[in-house]
Amino acid sequence: MKYYLLSVMQPIGDPPPPEVLAKIGKQLDVFHQELREAGAWVFAGGLHGPESSTVLRPRDGDVLVTDGPYAEGKEMLGGICLVRAPDLDAALEWGRKAALATTLPIEVRPFMHQAEE
């Protein structure tokens, strides 16, 4: 088994209206339930926006604390979902479901190390 990270690529800007968000939330509940039942679930969660982020930079043995995201962009990491899957095809199938549930593009990346069986 392998771990794969499903990243939700969210455009920067105003969030969708509440009724749309509520529908996406319901779809995600169904998706997460399906992951659990298949034994593929590791962790999933949405993130606050980049305006809530803090960056720590090492400097001369100390660390500098600054406000704001590491890099500005048109997209941000909206949330993550960590899954266990036997191979990329299985991970892509979860990614497909995540894209349909979130209505957003999903990036699928493998972790370097194996997941325990």
Partner: protein, 400 residues
């Protein structure tokens, strides 16, 4: 046994490399190790076969030798990982390579090489390298990129297969139609790349097409693609004149068409018609078969071709199909009507669009516009054969 020379080993290499790599990938679970083992085995064959002759089953000899050598190598190498791999290898039943599973291995390899998670050009390069047995420098030359660029493309693609764990298997039935489309697209892309460029690529695409047709005899689009390529390839001897300029279908010396390829292609088209599960490749092949049937250009059954383009428009609506359909309309309803259809298309960056327009304008006597259209086409193609043809056409109009 006949003594064997390096030409024999070379021939076996071209024929059996893909089969051997496919089997070894399954044994070793790693493409690089598999390639290395198979190349070692061929080196060994070069030493041995001149003395012993080519063995009765050259592919079996290569596969067995490659497997034994990789076991030896893993034994020599220290480290826990290697011992693990050895244990896995030694657990593999030492059955002789059989026809059935071997076929499946090559199919697995095709689907892995053409996995949609890989970029198209990586799919093409991997397919030519692993299944075609072409060297990195041969592939680089065929695609006019530096060898280092092609080498890096292959290394990255193989790393992604390993790191992301792209599976080594034939997709399940539910995914097969989509995934097969991807494989056919790669083979057709290789063919088209060779059509105006390196003839070796066409030969390789035909070889891959035959392999797919052998491995998936029940897929009508596989037969359709093979037929399409064979019928196009049958005209290669007539497609260029002595100066190397492109000769359009209407001007080709049909006596120079390859009758064997036509017969093979037409038989496949007839098989597709009987099956009656039409798809884009089959319909394109049927169009080519109508051309192949005509003893002279004037005898072409354009009405039939137009009907097939109408069918293709339903199956695969796209501007290039519409452009080719307009060429058939020019023959059935005249160039005026065809020009209206062509002018409505958004294909300004495609040289064939301008070449077709130029021809229609020429036939309508609108020479000045035709010259401009030939010039637009010339600005968009670097193929020497096409350029020579377009230049000649343009000059003829300027002269008169």
């Amino acid at each position: 046994m006949m003594p064997a020379g390096s030409a024999d080993v070379e021939a076996v290499f071209r024929r059996e490399y893909g089969r051997a790599v496919a089997v070894l990938v399954r044994f070793l679970g790693d493409i690089d190790l598999a390639e290395e083992a198979v190349q070692d085995a061929f080196t060994k064959a070069l030493e041995r076969w001149p003395g012993t002759g080519v063995p009765p089953s050259p592919a079996g000899w290569i596969i067995t030798t490659a497997r034994n050598r990789s076991i030896d190598r893993l034994r020599r190498e220290a480290g826990r990982d290697a011992r693990h791999a050895e244990a896995a290898l030694l657990n593999t039943p030492d059955a002789p390579p059989e026809e059935g599973p071997v076929r499946d291995d090559r199919l697995r390899l095709i689907f892995t090489c053409c996995h949609p998670a890989l970029a198209t050009r990586a799919q093409v390069a991997l397919t030519l390298r692993l299944l075609g047995g072409l060297t990195t420098s041969q592939i680089a030359r065929a695609f006019l990129v530096p060898e280092a660029t092609m080498a890096q493309r292959l290394v990255r693609a193989k790393a992604k297969i390993r790191d992301a764990r792209i599976p080594y298997r034939v997709p399940r039935d539910a995914d097969l139609p989509d995934r097969l489309q991807g494989v056919l697209a790669v083979v057709y892309l290789i063919f088209n790349e060779g059509y105006t460029g390196s003839p070796d690529l066409c030969a390789e695409a035909v070889r891959l097409g035959r392999l797919l047709a052998e491995l998936m005899p029940d897929e009508p689009e596989v037969s359709g693609l093979l037929a399409l390529m064979l019928l196009a390839e049958s005209r290669r001897p007539a497609r260029q004149d002595d100066s190397g300029a492109l000769v359009p279908l209407s001007g080709q010396d049909r006596a120079r068409w390859d009758r064997d390829l036509i017969a093979e292609g037409q038989a496949l088209v007839r098989g597709c018609l009987r099956r009656n599960q039409p798809g884009p490749y089959q319909v394109q092949a049927a169009i080519q078969a109508v051309h192949s049937d005509a003893p002279t250009a004037d005898a072409t059954d354009w009405a039939q071709i137009l009907r097939l383009y109408d069918q293709l428009t339903v199956l695969a609506p796209n501007p290039v199909v519409a452009l080719n359909r307009a060429v058939a309309v020019a023959e059935t309803e005249g160039p005026r009507r065809a020009l209206d259809l062509v002018d409505a298309l958004d294909l300004d960056g495609y040289h064939v669009f301008h070449a077709v327009r130029a021809d229609l304008l020429r036939r309508l006597g609108r020479d000045t516009e035709a010259v401009r259209a030939y010039e637009a086409a010339l600005a968009l193609t670097e193929s020497p054969a096409e350029r020579a043809y377009l230049e000649r056409r343009r000059r003829e109009l300027v002269r008169t």
